[in-house]
Symmetry: C2
Subunit: 304 residues, 2 copies
């Protein structure tokens, strides 16, 4: 994890990669989704409002970067990149509802239910989840992986044993004492599951080998967990530095975090271990995973 | 539409068919869904609570009956029958939420959110929707229809242009003057879309011909619309007969219905036309669609 990793040997420009992938993902999403003029206009406006609310498109970028690592083409990976983003957006809309996290703002903009009302927000989430599966069928299909494999991959990562399990555990853990095991359980499901799925889908869209798929699985899993632990660490260090400035953060900090359970020192050690494992997972690609490596650097070597 | 149609020439026993299909659908659903003991237990309890709340399993019966009309096997149709029931149940859970229809009871039992809370109810709906797509991948696949076709069929029928469009139009129409065209738009999407999809999926699971698929499409569509118009008629005739007895029905009656818009006489004519078209659609099956015919009789020749 030396700093030299940041300057990629191949001169890979992550900034450019992210900008380009965001543009192409946005163009594809715009094409895949019914227009704002399609009846009933409210639901399509609501779906598009959250889908185009300035998300960083990290999951689609992970799909595309994983495809590239396996010599795949963007065009083959694009429907899957868009499907994953629809799943991510639906989960945010439902997560923000008053019955869940009750958030009024996301990325500085009013949340879906604040603009369209709770009923439409529930339906917009439902529609994006459904749309994800429709979009996933638009992929071409490949010798090693069928549409059945792709759909099963997405359904399992988003289902009641993964993404939704994470939401449930998070919801039920509020105000209760959380163990390190329980926190890992939540992070694995709320964050790692869909990131792992994104990496795998990218590989599958490139008709990757079983070895490559295993490598991408490990990469996605560890990047997801490391990202979350680092998020927890930054939340604490930021809070102590900026104490009194960001009102409301204190309440939020009552949520269990790695530092609050195992301490800051141990959290840093765990983050370093997970980050190491994420980079190790890329070894089988022998330097062809430049985009993935740069993405991991960006996600895991951050200070904010 | 003579009464003789009720006594099927082939001596088909609908009661027995429905009882048997309900048992086998329930057994399959129990097998497809994570057990109540699977972590997080709350979500699996909530999913199962609504899924096994005594639904009539009309949509699965339609899938199985359509498969039979095309000489298909129950075992091939079963995953699709279960997928459709998961979609139907998810839509009921979300429809009952306070932000939507705000219903406290369904089939005499407290609604999902009354038992598990709104947050879990939203997630249980999400999980059942996701589960539907997972279950649909468990079907075998057939020469004429791929898993891609099956997933696309379900996603389109449940998406923002069909089932969800119906919910949105219904939600937005509350307290407003509804035209006959608008009411048809709602019925087509809230009811016909999934019934039509059920009939088609049954045929597809039996590797049906294009002619058979077209017949099943027309049958499902017209049965759905006719069912809804008849529901509206019965609601009015019941209300006028039992006036003062069923308190709260008056408020509900403020919702637009066919009789309230085009009058009782014209509604009866429309219902008869639609019912006729549903039966006409079965002609290509030349007597092999005994289960479908009996099912249509049951749904459309009812007095309550």
């Amino acid at each position: 994890m030396s700093a030299s990793r940041k300057e990629n040997k191949s001169g890979f420009n992550l900034q450019q990669f992210l900008e380009r992938s965001t543009v192409s993902v946005n163009t594809a999403l715009d094409r895949f989704l019914p227009s704002e003029k399609t009846k009933p206009v409210t639901i399509h406006k609501a779906m598009r409002y959250s889908l185009f609310a300035g998300g960083k498109r990290m999951r689609p970028a992970l799909v595309l970067a994983s495809a590239q690592a396996c010599d795949g083409r963007d065009s083959d990976a694009m429907p899957l990149a868009c499907a994953v983003e629809c799943i991510h957006t639906y989960s945010l809309i439902h997560d923000d509802l008053p019955a869940m996290d009750n958030d009024d703002f996301r990325r500085g903009k009013p949340t879906n239910h604040k603009v369209f009302g709770e009923g439409i927000a529930v339906l917009a989430g439902d529609a994006l989840l459904t749309q994800a599966f429709e979009i996933a069928t638009l992929s071409a299909g490949w010798p090693r992986y069928s549409h059945r494999d792709i759909i099963l991959e997405i359904a399992k990562a988003s289902g009641s044993l993964q993404l939704i399990a994470g939401q449930v555990a998070d919801l039920e853990g509020e105000g209760k004492k959380t163990s390190a095991i329980q926190l890992k359980y939540i992070h694995e499901r709320k964050t790692s599951a869909l990131l792992c799925c994104s990496a795998r889908l990218g590989g599958m869209s490139a008709n990757c080998s079983a070895t490559q798929l295993a490598a991408l699985t490990s990469f996605g899993y560890h990047v997801g967990l490391a990202f979350q632990v680092i998020d927890d660490i930054l939340d604490v260090t930021q809070t102590s530095e900026q104490l009194g400035k960001t009102a409301g953060k204190d309440t939020k900090a009552q949520k269990a975090t790695y530092p609050s359970i195992v301490g800051l020192e141990r959290s840093r050690k765990i983050a370093a271990e997970l980050t190491g494992k994420a980079f190790d997972a890329l070894k089988p690609f022998k330097g062809r995973a430049v985009a993935l490596e740069a993405l991991a650097n960006y996600l895991l070597k951050r200070d904010r």
